[in-house]
Amino acid sequence: MSATAPDETPRVAERPNYLNTGYGVKSWLLTIDHKRIAILYLIGVTFFFAIGGLYAAAIRLELLTPAGDVFQSETYNKLFTTHGVMMVFFFMIPGIPGVLGNFLIPLMIGAKDVAFPRLNLLSWYLYIIGGLLALWATVHGGVDTGWTFYTPYSTVYSNGWVVVTGVGVFISGFSSILTGLNFLVTLHTMRAPGMGWTRMPLFCWSMYATAIIQILGTPVIAITLLLLVAERVFHLGVFDPAQGGDPVLFQHLFWFYSHPAVYIMILPAMGVISELVTAFARKPIFGYKFIAASSVAIATLSFLVWGHHMFVSGQSVYAGLVFSILSFMVGVPSAIKVFNWTATLYKGSVSYQTPLLYAIGFIGLFTFGGLTGLMLAALGLDIHVHDTYFIVAHFHYIMVGGTIMAYLGGLHYWWPKISGRLYPEYWSRVSAWVIFIGFNLTFFPQFIVGYLGMPRRYHAYPEEFQVLNVMSTAGASILGIGYVIPLVYFAWSMRYGKRAADNPWGATGLEWETPSPPPTENFAVTPTVTGRPYDYLTGREEAAAG
């Protein structure tokens, strides 16, 4: 159990593992091994993240100066639409579930694979097909509706490739549904003997809550996009006021999925943080049951708050009132998690290795994003900052400061398991700091500029906002460099990194009890679980035992 000890015994031949069982293209593209599918997702997710990032760079470039000088307004509309579509549907939603969920769920519960391996591969193909369709639409002229596709602009007036993009998102929606379904069934039926629900790792709990949202929410956006496409092609009139349709109905249906969808993005991230905090505090997690239950509570509440996106859309005042109160309630389970993570760190033997740096960054930034979310849940304040950069800053604190921090933290934590190699610790710490600084410099000024009244989705702005926008663009450049560094050293480590031990962090959990990288069937013998998770000895217990 020695921490970070490299492999002492040099090996003549590599042990058989999931990476060296086959090398051909076919062995990857037709694989049904959840670990290889996770790698496929890693490639896809990184690709679409890079595309979305390039569009973000273009947006920040335009906003460097107050005049709309680099891009025309319509081009700018297409830039932020593509940035949103790529990041939301093809990076955030499939990100942690596709990569870490796929790799870890069977390992964490002591199973050989997910319940439906071929369905799992189909999910990946649907995701890639959907993503490439949306990319095709972008290359051939783009879409300018915003990622929200609001009607009747998207159905009647827009000249962009709304139908192709809509179909792309529709197809990748099925990927999300099938992934959620697969994980739900896996967690229900494939846990190792002895692993009751209260012995399940918290990452699995959060993926379970995510699966519920994917199953209950995604079909609604699927049918909504289908109606949108049909409306644009056949002029159905369901969302067109000229024919008696109601555009607000579209918004209701859209946000009935798309609000829960932000919890599809954040819940897996919270699961990752729970794992990281306890592993690097060397302490059993504080309030296991509360953290597990709060995941399910967030999933439940997520379906009751969609109306807070429509405070100024002509929704009834009383509905707004109820949605406002319910939105405040989401703060309760979220705060439970933050307090429990903090309490876990309190008096722990904390070692500030890279994954924990990301985790601590997450806790701070998520708290910031969450508290500004409460401001937005207040009816009066929301009317002031609605559609300004304040809201842009708020959800980037959750999505980028929260989800991407957790995703990178998780990737660093489980990378030795995934690749069997160690990455350079020095550079990984540098990148964690660069990302944290770059992120705050990008998005904190946006809170201020938004509160002062700068609206989102315009390519020109009054001159008094320039200083804050220059800060934001400078931060984005730093952030971009921060994202490139891990890409380089992860790629480097796959060939040149030191070989990782089976349990380089000395962490608990079944995934650390199998070799790094794991063999195709995960475990030589199906493990039996006899105790609670996160069974770290606390300092006092250690003293008593020693």
């Binding site: 439906f116 379904l181 494939m190 079909p219 049909a230 056949f234 009139g237 024919q243 349709g245 069937e521």
Partner: protein, 232 residues
């Protein structure tokens, strides 16, 4: 299907239907069943979006919707309802036969189910054709229909009734077509003797799907054809 996975199966006495990553057949069946039910939940929500739209607009444009509803052929609709309920019976019998492992009986009931499904779709084609001929298909050729009793034109939102009618019944028909494809796949498997007293999960799962599609129609029929029919 099962043949490839069987090669990976671990123990020397494990049955050929058992996939390598399950402990035993009951565990595999439990996973399939839960997966199918979860899938049906997603289907409920998928149709649910359109039912929501229908309910809202029916409440908003009541006269238009009731008037347009009167133009649907209630006799064909009722006949189709009976056909689908019959097909649910034959499907249930196919599941029963598969649990006994009786190959010929399984195939017989599956063929009967396909035939009944085919009749349903045939009648649907007749209904759609009538709508085309009467210019009741939404779009540029739509002509606002007349109230059957007063012979006054219906409100223009009657077009939206037909929009939703075609979307909802169209999506339902698409599910029927997929169902018929699945039944054909089952027949191919059954002919090879894949279903035994020990293993009939695919028949059971397709059965659940088929019943679900029938239940959707049980909601569509009163909602589209019957509701408010006599108030005019």
């Amino acid at each position: 299907m099962g043949a490839h996975a069987a090669a990976h199966a671990g123990g020397h006495d494990s049955p050929p239907e058992l996939r390598h990553h399950f402990v035993d057949l009951p565990a595999q069946r439990e996973a399939s069943t839960l997966g199918m039910w979860a899938f049906l939940v997603t289907e409920v929500l998928f149709f649910g979006g359109m039912f929501t739209a229908y309910v809202i607009y029916r409440a908003t444009y009541r006269t238009a919707f009731e008037g347009a509803s009167n133009l649907l052929d209630i006799k064909l609709g009722a006949f189709n309802t009976a056909v689908l309920i019959m097909s649910s019976l034959t499907m249930a019998l196919a599941v029963w036969a598969s649990s006994l492992g009786r190959k010929n009986l399984i195939i017989l009931f599956l063929i009967l189910t396909i035939l009944l499904g085919g009749i349903f779709l045939g009648v649907k084609v007749i209904e759609y054709k009538q709508k085309f001929e009467h210019h009741e298909v939404p779009g540029p050729h739509f002509v606002v229909p007349l109230n059957e009793k007063t012979h006054q034109p219906l409100p223009p939102q009657s077009e939206m009734f037909f929009s939703l009618y075609f979307c909802m019944t169209g999506l339902h028909a698409l599910h029927m077509i997929i169902g018929i494809g699945l039944l054909t796949w089952l027949i191919v498997k059954a002919r090879r003797g894949a279903f035994t007293t020990r293993y009939n999960t695919p028949v059971d799962m397709v059965g659940l799907y088929w019943h679900f599609v029938d239940v959707v129609w049980i909601f569509l029929f009163p909602l589209l054809y019957l509701l408010g029919r006599h108030t005019l």
